[in-house]
Symmetry: C2
Subunit: 151 residues, 2 copies
Amino acid sequence: MKFSARFEYALLALLYLKCEPDESPISGRVLSEKLSLPYRFLEQILTDLKKAGLVRSVRGYHGGYRLAVEPEEISLYDVFRVTEGKLEPYNCGEGENGDRCGQSHNMCVISSFYDDIKDTMTNLLKSYTLDKLCQASRNMGAPKAAPAANV
Amino acid sequence: MKFSARFEYALLALLYLKCEPDESPISGRVLSEKLSLPYRFLEQILTDLKKAGLVRSVRGYHGGYRLAVEPEEISLYDVFRVTEGKLEPYNCGEGENGDRCGQSHNMCVISSFYDDIKDTMTNLLKSYTLDKLCQASRNMGAPKAAPAANV
DNA sequence: ATAATTTACATCGAATCGATAGGAATTATG
DNA sequence: CATAATTCCTATCGATTCGATGTAAATTAT
Ligand code: FES
Ligand code: FES
């Protein structure tokens, strides 16, 4: 189970926008260079983030991106929804008939497990806000344990 | 976030083997018919389950599959490991240098979130055993609410 | 007018996924 | 021994997804 590159890139970009609060917006080009991420690809992601209302964009000469809402209000759940789509484990189309499990959805053993997964993931994702992550990042100034020098 | 068909098929097969404990092993053919699953594909999955030691197989004329361990001992974590691979959210190769986040792994904000996800998922998956699921399935004998008859 | 930028599409290559197929090895039964 | 039923191994296919690149148009300060 892996998270997509989209998710990580979006998160890194948002963290950068938050941790470097500037007067002028930050351009996609600068963002991609600072984070060493592919320029075009990152812009796609930023566009998605904009559609979702997480960032705001300014076009033209000194344009760029900035956060659209307060960083306490942006949770990893929001980022997830933008980059990974719906958090729906069901393979059966929920409302309709379960074609895979062969049973009707409300009689399916698996569905109760899926419900659990869905709730748990949702809660976990919502518990991480951009703000907390940025604070944690600051507290990491010094690495936990310096790796032993080799030789 | 979806679970693979492999996961569901494996789970359905294991549940069948558990809930229909028989003297003679159950063949892949029968299993696929009872569960309405594609024969060849299911056998691939059963082979994987066997390699993982969850089922035992008997070859030849009256051959087939049966559970290899007690159903209390089989958790969804085991099934997950077989069908979905490692539960490693990290995109950076953990031990090595983080190529995506650009930081060393023990200084990466994202890694702490990934650790959390990993632990949470692991615990949740381990909390579901084959036995519990089968009991739940029995308790579902009567549907919660009969869907309204149309017309 | 010009340069820098966002924005929208189109496409590409690789990987993954569900599924199918052929054939070899194994084993009870006659 | 011959046969039928079965597991098992491996190859492949078609579709989809994913990360990434490219092109070109719209927007805006200077
Ligand atoms: S029928 Fe919906 S999960 Fe089984
Ligand atoms: S460096 Fe490992 S998750 Fe960021």
